[in-house]
Symmetry: C2
Subunit: 436 residues, 2 copies
Amino acid sequence: MKNLRVGLLGVGTVGGGSFEVLWRNQHEITRRAGCEIRITRVADMDLAKAKALVGDRAEVCDDGFSIVNDPDIDVVLELVGGYGVAKSLVLAAIEQGKHVVTANKALLAVHGDEIFAAARKKGVILAYEAAVAGGIPIIKALREGLTANRIEWIAGIINGTTNFILSEMREKGLPFAEVLKQAQALGYAEADPSFDIEGIDAGHKISLLASIAFGIPVQFNRAHIEGITNLQAEDIRYAEQLGYRIKLLGITRRRPEGVELRVHPTLIPAKRLIASVEGAMNAVWVKADAVGHTMYYGKGAGAEPTASAVIADLVDVARAFAVPAGLRVPSLAFQADAVLDTAVLAREHIESAYYVRLRVEDQPGVLADITRILADGGISLDAVLQREPDAGEHQTDVILLTHRCIESAVDQAIAMIEALPTVLSSAVRLRLEDLD
Amino acid sequence: MKNLRVGLLGVGTVGGGSFEVLWRNQHEITRRAGCEIRITRVADMDLAKAKALVGDRAEVCDDGFSIVNDPDIDVVLELVGGYGVAKSLVLAAIEQGKHVVTANKALLAVHGDEIFAAARKKGVILAYEAAVAGGIPIIKALREGLTANRIEWIAGIINGTTNFILSEMREKGLPFAEVLKQAQALGYAEADPSFDIEGIDAGHKISLLASIAFGIPVQFNRAHIEGITNLQAEDIRYAEQLGYRIKLLGITRRRPEGVELRVHPTLIPAKRLIASVEGAMNAVWVKADAVGHTMYYGKGAGAEPTASAVIADLVDVARAFAVPAGLRVPSLAFQADAVLDTAVLAREHIESAYYVRLRVEDQPGVLADITRILADGGISLDAVLQREPDAGEHQTDVILLTHRCIESAVDQAIAMIEALPTVLSSAVRLRLEDLD
């Protein structure tokens, strides 16, 4: 097998980690791959930083395009990030007939159709194991490990920052804003954390997973995304009393009507294995018709876990290099002519169970009014929790757990419930998934 | 890509499941694979059973060798099981230049060296994803997903029968023999359960995992194997009081001195994710230098979960069919010339922490004598639990948890402790792994 000459673009956390792991484990990797995989050229705008990383172990420059255009480079490793120059570099590399390995979920989620089509046209590999759930080989598991299955749904803890925040909120009973500050101090959240806490990052990842699970185009733009910024500590507490934990899940589900694609805080039964995934760890739960439930757990970020995925892709490229394009695993798991244009369902058509918290007058008949509205809307209840009001208080919290129904029915029912004179504030509504 | 004509040998649980899943999901599989994978011939000694399964969907016969020798068959799917005719069929298929997919862990663990060498010589694929942990794509994760890593250790719940029994023993406080009977009634344990409960089946699987994790020959014959037949309900209870659960783990670990390869009941911290894997489910925990900890969870047995793994192998074969042998993923993950003859360490050289339960006279100085012997042997203690004797009793249980040490030191210390006049019966000794 030929040795693989890799050009690394970007020496940030993941670029640095990939360079070091590939260097340190060169021998072990060659024992498996049967060829040498070497990063021979490195580019970064910050030339000093690149030199500090690489020393004399590779050639360093500040112009990624000079690597992309270098005929001695077989594979371009894009670890620049973002949508800007990264996109130009990836498309230029493809145009040059080079294989590309990237960890750039944002780029693929937003411009995936264009990029995957370009790679297909040129017959090059576009590999992105590191783009979802860091070191967990979830792309490989879905694309190759579960090929026998009709995949039904995926629910993933695929953003470590938010899982860390939710774990801390639950364990310590602290409000979101305070835990966020701690997470920033510890390096678990960025100075501008909005990509993570607003659910955008998880949205990018679940869009890619939906695509390879069901054979549909990457449709991040149609995903319904809610972050954790409005989540209140008391809902975490009530959920726990009812036997649930709240996780920010990326969820995608195939239904006869279309595909659900959504990110939001979700109540899940505390007894499910994925409910015990705490801190910055990631886990992806997959339900498929033949294998049933499987789960994949590990670190979703960090220099070396992400490097693990990046380098696994490089080894795959080394193996597939001399293989005709038609025999390779398709980038998006399904053959290009078998991709279906299945619609992503709008939020109103989501099917879920719901947690609804209401602030109500503590007086007879209130619960009867509320449950009547739900029943009229065809929404059946799984559980009701009514807090005993504190002495002297005349208000209390009512928590309702519904069975599965279509979200528009819940929209209507909640609007009617909020209009009741005995209901004192807006309802808090969270989705609940049994993951069964 | 060419269509793949598969000959199925054996229509037992897994054979039947594989036939049905491939038939049911033909369309979805073809969407991914880009070619049709069809079981065109089926053989089973029980011709009526084979006909009942297949109907007119494939040609049926009672002679596996006629399929193995059929030039129209591309891949032989060996689901006969056992060491006897299965071995002859697999070797004959290889000799005919056919690729082989099998779920037969026993065969590969015992005769793997011979079979893998034969396949290598003929340049054919020998795939066995279904041989370990059923539907969990753990072979693919280790062979391909973690190629960047130096794998340090693996600890797996890789036998569903024993995990079901241990879960029931813990939850219901029942003794082994009683739970075994229940498991047999429920179909979770076979009429002759010895392969499972003696740890042999887990031994087969961990031997294969060790081989692909470290690049060493399959060495089931050197594994140290203890089952769960002697495990007592009170040790499960004591473990729980100390914050641990007892699982039958297959463990393999690379140390400078050699490789540990062992199966035994093991105390693990209750807070570890794998400790919550209950019932007949499987999970494999992998520690590797770059990615850190990852875990893979799912069903380890059953018709359709195992079929999921079998068919994933068939799709891989379809893709690798026209690929030169040197470019394929090696059967045992490492290139044949890079396999190391690393020694499997004898039981005495295992390194572990230990749980030791002693029945002692309830009198002053007993604990001092015991801890002195341990200290003299260089064994330090992590925790001591001494039960209050019941009223009127003059004996009690002492439970010791040690830090990590070499097993021979524990052998010696326990021999000396058992010789103390105040120690009233043989020590119960279990291994404890922190999985950190």
